[in-house]
């Protein structure tokens, strides 16, 4: 039942969302515009061409962050508003399976967008990438996604209890995270203390490690930690976030049942 639930819940994201073609405009062209703005800034100050790569990669990874915030963390709020949450709770399946289905569907959906941003951005701005170690790069990328979506699953359990308050929380996280995680520049530029604090968010270390593996010579002097250390921390984060998500989900579901918040709409 667990894997059937995962597939069932992933389905609307894998199939359903592709049916609305407006995503090509909103989720590829609009992010590319933002990337373009940074590209022109770097070009104007005659930054090395690798910086264009930092921006394109950051633009692609920002798609995952937005997906985690608005389609993972906040998703149970929408599910409550539409009446799906009641049916999820009443079903005999695991809540983690539902969240995992949402996460896998979201990853698939976002990977299409992120791949399009990377491909178009790289070709358009002639980004000089040197992939030094494909397996490690893939490992870092996938571990980052697991940790990031684990964080999303943990945050989503908060929405079982809180409604609009948690919505504001997502709003609050969106822009500051793109700044402190270094979406458009190496995070080390913010200083060791802020970079270390921002490392609590998997996307910070994921981006830094991927940049090291794609632009090794330029990142030698700009890296925060070594890619190996960052991969280790990401692996730990992934485990911790998934475990916390499991605990938080059980705790907040219990609390929400007690306080009658599972089915109250328009909170």
């Amino acid at each position: 039942m667990f894997w059937r639930t995962v597939c069932g819940r992933a389905y609307p994201r894998v199939i359903g969302s592709q049916r609305e073609k407006s995503w090509i405009f909103f989720e590829i062209l609009l992010p590319l515009l933002q990337v373009t703005a940074y590209v022109f800034i770097y070009r104007a100050i005659e930054a090395p061409p690798e910086f264009l790569g930092f921006v394109v990669l950051g633009g692609a990874m920002s798609a995952y962050w937005l997906n985690v915030l608005w389609s993972m963390a906040s998703q149970l709020y929408w599910e409550k508003e539409t009446g799906n949450l009641e049916l999820y709770i009443v079903a005999p399946t695991s809540r983690m399976a539902i969240l995992l289905g949402m996460a896998l569907g979201g990853m698939f959906q976002t990977t299409l967008r992120a791949a399009a941003i990377v491909t178009i951005g790289s070709l358009l701005f002639r980004v000089p990438m040197t992939v030094t170690n494909v397996p490690v790069l893939l490992g870092v990328f996938l571990t980052t996604l697991v940790a990031l979506y684990g964080l999303g699953m943990m945050l989503s359990s908060l929405f079982l209890l809180f409604g609009r308050e948690a919505w504001h929380f997502s709003n609050l996280l969106q822009e500051p995270v793109s700044l402190v995680s270094g979406f458009y520049f190496p995070v080390r530029a913010l200083g060791q203390v802020i970079a270390a604090a921002a490392s609590a968010l998997p996307i910070t270390l994921g981006l830094d490690a991927m940049r090291q593996l794609l632009f090794p010579s330029m990142m030698e002097s700009l890296r925060f930690l070594s890619a190996e250390v960052e991969l280790g921390i990401l692996t730990g984060s992934a485990v911790v976030f998934l475990l916390l998500a499991h605990r938080a989900l059980a705790h907040f579901e219990k609390l929400a049942r007690r306080e009658g918040r599972l089915t109250v709409r328009g909170q």
Binding site: R4, G8, I15, G16, L87, A91, R257, G260
Partner: protein, 337 residues
């Protein structure tokens, strides 16, 4: 706890507490359920009848493990809903009126398949069952339609199919025909009756404020108001208890409120009125026919004109009026839903 009963509650109570921030403007506590006790044997279609805010939905939410009781106990399929909600969920299904569940970009068939997966149904079996049930509710031609194109009635038919798809042992129907047109509501009622006939071991708990629906479908009904069960029996028994009294509907012109007049007439057991543009419609239960003469004289003396008078056999609505002491329209409820 024996599982002889599909559902059993014991002194079930639920109090909603307003959060501190909101409490400045509103009352602090709302008693949605005030100690309800009932038993539903397996195979029964049991109705919970009451006005908005009576506590019907709160009862269903507790039984369906969406809400914990403040005190008291409830068992579904012999399992304590508060102690083992996961255990309960293997035995239940739920359909609510006005449900907007599902994903608009998926088709009817895809949405139903998705929900079947949450119950671990094998895909081929699920698809076959979906086709079968869509045909029963007359929705086969919409199987490939995205659900945002469906009308309210079609959507509710789809919800019904979802609820019955997994053939649950115990099914909760919460105002399932709410807002539907007469034809669709009739189709769904027929569907429920047939399903129960074909599956005599299954149990349904239906909440409704549609008296005729409860009358038509339910083996027994509990009349609930302000969180309390006021009567619980078969509809025919409840109506039989009223037969010695006279149930009369009067349409009176020239007056806006007949309550003060009725209050002066002795032996009027129960009274409720609905104001219309041109008249007041009053349902009265009289201790005997002789009281009617006095009532009509009082109306005339107050300047009212009798437009029509209908004496009829008691309905569940009359039972409700008799038991609760006021009509549906006049019930303020306890604030729960």
């Amino acid at each position: 706890m024996s599982s002889e009963f599909a559902i059993r509650t014991e002194d079930l109570r639920r109090v909603f507490r307003t959060r501190k921030r909101e409490a400045k403007k509103q009352k602090r506590e709302v008693v949605a359920l005030d100690g309800i006790t009932f038993k539903v044997p397996r195979g029964e279609l049991f109705g919970v009848l009451g006005p908005n805010g009576a506590g019907k939905t709160t009862t269903i939410k507790i039984l369906a493990t969406l809400l914990t009781p403040t005190s008291g106990h409830a068992w579904v399929a012999g399992i304590d809903v508060a102690a083992d909600p996961k255990g309960v969920r293997h035995h239940i299904g739920m359909v609510s009126g006005g449900e907007t569940s599902g994903y608009g970009l998926l088709t009817v068939e895809e949405n139903l398949w998705m929900f079947s997966q949450f119950y671990g149904m094998e895909t081929r079996a699920a698809r076959a069952r979906i086709r079968e049930l869509l045909a029963v509710v007359g929705l086969s031609d919409r199987a490939k339609t995205k659900i945002y194109h469906l009308s309210t009635g079609m959507r509710q038919k789809m919800n019904f199919v979802r609820g019955f798809l997994t053939e649950p042992e115990i099914l909760f129907l919460d105002e399932p025909t709410l807002g539907l047109d007469v034809q669709t509501a009739r189709t769904l009622r027929g569907f429920v009756s047939n399903w129960l006939r074909e599956h005599p071991d299954r149990t349904i708990l239906l909440t409704t404020h549609a008296m005729h629906e409860a009358d038509e479908l339910c083996g027994r009904v509990a009349i609930i108001d302000r969180g309390r069960i006021l009567a619980c029996d078969a509809p025919s028994n409840l109506k039989r208890d009223l037969k010695h009294e006279a149930v009369v509907r009067l349409r009176i012109g020239g007056l806006e409120d007949v309550r003060p007049i009725v209050a002066t007439v002795p032996s009027v057991s129960r009274f409720s009125q609905t104001a219309h543009d041109d008249c007041v419609e009053a349902d009265v239960i009289l201790a005997n026919d002789a009281v009617l003469t006095g009532l009509l004289a009082a109306v005339e003396a107050a300047g009212g004109t009798l437009l029509s008078l209908e004496k009829r056999a008691p309905t569940l609505e009359d039972v409700f009026l008799d038991v609760v002491g006021h009509g549906f329209e006049e019930s303020s409820g306890g604030g729960a839903s």
